[in-house]
């Protein structure tokens, strides 16, 4: 089983909670004997998507920008479970995580298809995967959490994921609590494969 962790936590102190979660995901996965590939996105050389659509129309499947996103795209294709970690930012994801996601469109096709009664893009690669998203917040915030969980559900439709779960941890969450919840969701994601 290949686990891919995209950690969008900032490298400063605000990212400490995210790093703790990413570490727990990696540790719990290794205990199960799964392969772990982890990216700390903040500080990586990933430029923002230009919206040029060359990856669809000029050289399909390959982005026009050559930077650290290239290996990340290959890791997505190889993964069985994709795990995103991010501080909840206005209810959504951090710029670091979002930059990597915006640049992932070479992995989909330009054409339209119908999924769950809506129009979406088909995937370039056949393999489907489970998807987990972990958010961090300083303290409970029902409105931001509702937006975050809704966003993850929207992404799950686009990703056509096999199983999707999301969870928001608050600052100060104990290591045992984080590890326990992570283990539970990883097991469910693994069983769905």
């Amino acid at each position: 089983m290949n686990i891919l962790i995209l950690n969008g936590a900032p490298l400063n102190g605000r990212g400490a909670a995210g790093r703790k979660i990413a570490e727990a995901v990696a540790n719990e996965s290794r205990v199960k004997g799964w392969n772990v590939t982890a990216y700390e996105l903040d500080g990586m050389a990933i430029k923002p998507c230009r919206g040029c659509f060359a990856c669809w129309l000029k050289h399909p499947g390959t982005c026009a920008i050559k930077d650290d996103e290239e290996p990340l795209l290959r890791s997505i294709v190889a993964s069985d479970i994709e795990v995103w970690v991010s501080p909840v930012t206005f209810g959504g994801y951090s710029p670091a995580l979002k930059k990597a996601l915006d640049r992932s469109i070479p992995n989909i096709l330009p054409f339209f298809t119908k999924r769950h009664g809506e129009v979406h893009h088909p995937h370039r690669y056949d393999k489907r995967r489970s998807f987990l998203a972990f958010g961090t917040l300083p303290s409970p915030d029902p409105e931001a959490e509702r937006i975050f969980h809704t966003l993850v559900r929207r992404n799950a439709i686009n990703l056509d994921s096999i199983r999707t779960d999301s969870h928001v941890f608050y600052d100060g969450a104990g290591e045992a609590g984080v590890a326990g919840r992570v283990r539970e969701l990883l097991e469910a994601a693994g069983e769905a494969r």
Partner: protein, 253 residues
């Protein structure tokens, strides 16, 4: 309008922030600019800037903060990217929110008493409701950054505009133009975007089946034009997924 001794006027000010990576050639710019010409005609002083320009240098960021501080109304126009805002726009909103949270605590009277924020969101899918999470994120940003929320105009089928000025897009945008007229009339006098304007904006530009067919035909035409027909379903990028890249921040086990 009255002139002040420092040369400024007491006209209400509106700032358009374009969050599309395609900047001035984008559908977001086209829709946003059309609204802003109407706001200008309604007596507002207008300014437009793109997020990519604002992030280019510290000097440009400073200009953006000054423009945000001075604005009675900020309108953010952007395309839907992966179900929400494009990354550089999130980064820009973080900068604005962090600065304002500091400024509002230190100096509550830094800008106009009530600053309003509205959003224009468009996506390439035919369903307008796919923009809803992005609208929720913008509303949440307004709350965190101390703006009064003035509402949103969201539309699907943005691909049909092709980045053209709205006046060159023909009859299919008649509801969009009506929605912008209604929104401008209200925003120019300090009001919110009327619900009727949001409803009109959300209407499909053409039958869903026609947009679906036209989009797929358009993609194929562009691919052929670029000589990429044989590579449409190319999987070379992912085929070598066992390659081990050497960048520093990746860890494998």
């Amino acid at each position: 309008m009255n002139a002040r001794t420092d040369g400024t006027t007491d006209k209400r000010k509106a700032l358009l922030l374009v969050g599309s990576p395609r900047g001035k050639s984008s559908a977001s710019q086209s829709i946003g600019s059309t609204l802003f010409r109407k706001l200008e005609a309604g007596g507002m002083e207008i300014e437009e800037m793109t997020v990519s320009a604002a992030l280019q240098s510290t000097e440009n960021q400073h200009r953006m903060h000054k423009a945000v501080d001075a604005a009675d109304l900020v309108v953010v126009a952007f395309p839907l990217y992966v179900d929400q805002l494009p990354a550089p726009l999130i980064q820009t909103l973080e900068l604005i929110a962090e600065r304002r949270q500091g400024t509002l605590v230190a100096s509550p009277s830094a800008g106009p008493l009530v600053q309003k924020l509205a959003a224009i969101v468009q996506c390439g899918f035919p369903e307008t409701h796919q923009n809803q999470t992005a609208v929720d994120i913008m509303r949440r940003f307004a709350k965190e950054a101390g703006f009064a929320w003035a509402g949103a105009l969201a539309m699907g089928m943005g691909g049909a505009l092709g980045g053209r000025p709205l006046e060159k897009a023909g009859g299919m945008v008649r509801n969009v133009v009506k929605a912008l007229d209604m929104a401008a009339a209200s925003l120019a006098v300090g009001g919110d975007i009327p619900e009727e304007a949001s409803r009109l904006m959300a209407r499909p530009l053409m039958p869903r089946w026609l947009y679906f067919l036209a989009a797929n035909w358009g993609f194929r035409r562009e691919i052929k034009k670029h000589g990429a027909r044989k590579r449409v379903y190319d999987r070379r990028q992912g085929a070598d997924s066992r390659e081990r890249p050497a960048e520093a921040r990746r860890s494998d086990s």
